[in-house]
Amino acid sequence: MSDRLPVSSISGDTHPVTSENSFVKSSVAFSGWPIFCAIFVVAALGLWWMITASQARVLWDIWTGSGLASVGILIPPASAILIALAWRDQEWNAGGTWWGLALCTFTLLMSAFVKGNGSPVVLVSTVKLHLLPMGLFVFLYVSGVVLLFGGYRAYRVALFPISLLLLINPAPSFFLAYVDLPLQYIGAHTARAFAGLVGVSLASDNLRLMFSPALGMFVAPGCNGLRGALTMGLLTLVVGYLYRMPVWLRLFYVVGGVVLAYLLNLVRLCGLVLCYRVALGFEPLARHMEAADYVLGSLIFLSGAVFVFALPRKWKSHRKQYANS
């Protein structure tokens, strides 16, 4: 068997492997699907043993329980898809390096040490900052596997999607305490100030309604805009990467997207105050205020996203024009 077999070994097709073949194809070509699957299974088993079922449960609860961190559930599939895309047009001699095994061993041993001795944490009042978060372990382990079986080039090409795994918990507790909470204050005060501006009296009776499910302006956690801002940040990160924007421009793009999403949320809060003002005197509308919030939020976020995603397309066409001229 040569290093570059026809694809027939996979699909029954007798066409030879061309220069457009993917890493997956070349992996298969040199070793066949069974070995590729075996690598995947062994690596997945190692990952499962490393993070353990209880830690997986904690991560699952973070994803499904926290509106802010729920976007993290998209990180693993997004990373996998982007890795596949990154390797699609690449071709290299899949050699791999034993340094990958060293990295995997180090990561697994570190994980074992943490299981036995505890995880190093910096405590500031009641806020925990994990020095070795789960995302770091997953990132190092996957890096090791790719280096071991794919080599430096495969790793370099897929570095960004692999790095995304660092964000599997996009809103750790220190972030919630030091970024989310102050922004909640700003969001709540903006809504209150706007309510005062449009003449909505937030007397104590109205305040009490705020905390009942029937009616009220309930500026809940997540209304501070960080949920949208975090999602926008991750999306711009991925879009900037897909459009191959230079790093400095990507940085501006991501920061701009986050700030825009946050500002748009303040607009949404003020819009919601207006809706509540109308609903206070119109009972049938009051019953649908939660839906109104979702509709208003979705429309504002969607329009912001359309604007933000049009920018790299514009940048790319400008660059093409400039190159042609």
């Binding site: 068997m1 040199f30 070793s31 070995i35 075996a38 690598i39 062994v42 088993l45 190692g46 043993w49 353990t52 079922a53 209880s54 830690q55 997986a56 449960r57 904690v58 699952w60 609860d61 329980g65 899949a94 050699g95 791999g96 995997c104 061993t105 697994l108 074992a112 299981k115 036995g116 001795n117 505890g118 995880s119 190093p120 944490v121 910096v122 405590l123 009042s125 009641t126 925990k128 994990h130 071991l148 909470l181 204050y185 969001g187 709540a188 809504a191 209150r192 009296s201 937030l202 007397a203 104590s204 305040l207 009490r208 705020m210 905390f211 009942s212 499910p213 309930f218 500026v219 956690p221």
Partner: protein, 234 residues
């Protein structure tokens, strides 16, 4: 062929490393469980936790909301006979620690004062953190005294969990996560928050004192035992 064999050799070494460095610690230090490890508590019936009357206060409304997959919020609103004073009781199940005062403050309300106090309830003495909140009525009239009292019940007692600590940063080793610690001791904290609203002039010391007096009286008739039982999983 040679490359294929090389990959197989590499895979075998990798598998051996996985078993030794991943599998052995996994079985040595405990595997945990995806399903059973969370210590889920089914909520008691609302009438068990929130009776139809607490002292002079009668029940206005009580409800239960499933906030997410496992967290359940149970709330009840009580009013005095004259409907002047209102108290809202809320517990959060399966949420771990939850200081409701922090949520109120996060929503833009300003704290006037804060202290930790041991208060007498119907069945026991319990530690409460009491936060006095400034009435932020834009109109500036009919300002009310707003008190938030929070406590956290375990199987044995209910104690306050202060909003924050003033200690500086410290490095520590976290043996296991919060949930696992509580599952190990077979207890899940049940946080209770009480919002007490009394009419009067905001910032008026006399009105504030009267509100606190009425709040204490209300609390002296409230039973914390169901919350402790809930925490202990009885």
């Amino acid at each position: 062929m040679e490359k294929s064999q090389k990959t197989i050799r590499k895979l075998l070494v990798f598998a051996a490393v996985i078993v030794l460095c991943g599998g052995v610690p996994h079985f040595l230090f405990g595997r945990g469980s995806f399903h059973a490890g969370y210590g889920y508590r089914s909520p008691y019936a609302l009438e068990t936790v929130f009776p139809s009357a607490i002292g002079d206060f009668h029940l206005v409304n009580r409800w239960q909301t499933a906030l997410q997959e496992q967290v359940v919020e149970q709330v009840a609103i009580y009013q005095d006979v004259a409907s002047n004073e209102t108290a809202q009781f809320a517990i959060y199940l399966n949420a771990g620690a939850h200081n409701a005062a922090a949520c109120y403050l996060a929503r833009g309300m300003q704290m006037q004062s804060r202290r930790v106090e041991q208060l007498q309830t119907a069945d026991s003495s319990a530690g409460f953190e009491i936060v006095s909140i400034v009435d932020q009525s834009v109109a500036g009239t009919n300002g009310a005294s707003l008190l938030m009292a929070t406590t956290e019940c375990s199987g044995e007692k209910c104690t306050s969990r202060p909003l924050d600590f003033k200690a500086g940063p410290q490095l520590t080793w976290l043996k296991s996560n919060y949930v696992e610690r509580n599952v190990a001791s077979n207890e899940l904290p049940v946080p209770l928050s009480i919002t007490f609203e009394s009419p009067g002039n905001s910032g008026n010391g006399q009105g504030q004192d009267q509100a606190e007096q009425h709040f204490r009286k209300l609390l002296s008739n409230f039973n914390l035992k169901p919350l402790r039982d809930l925490s202990a999983g009885k």
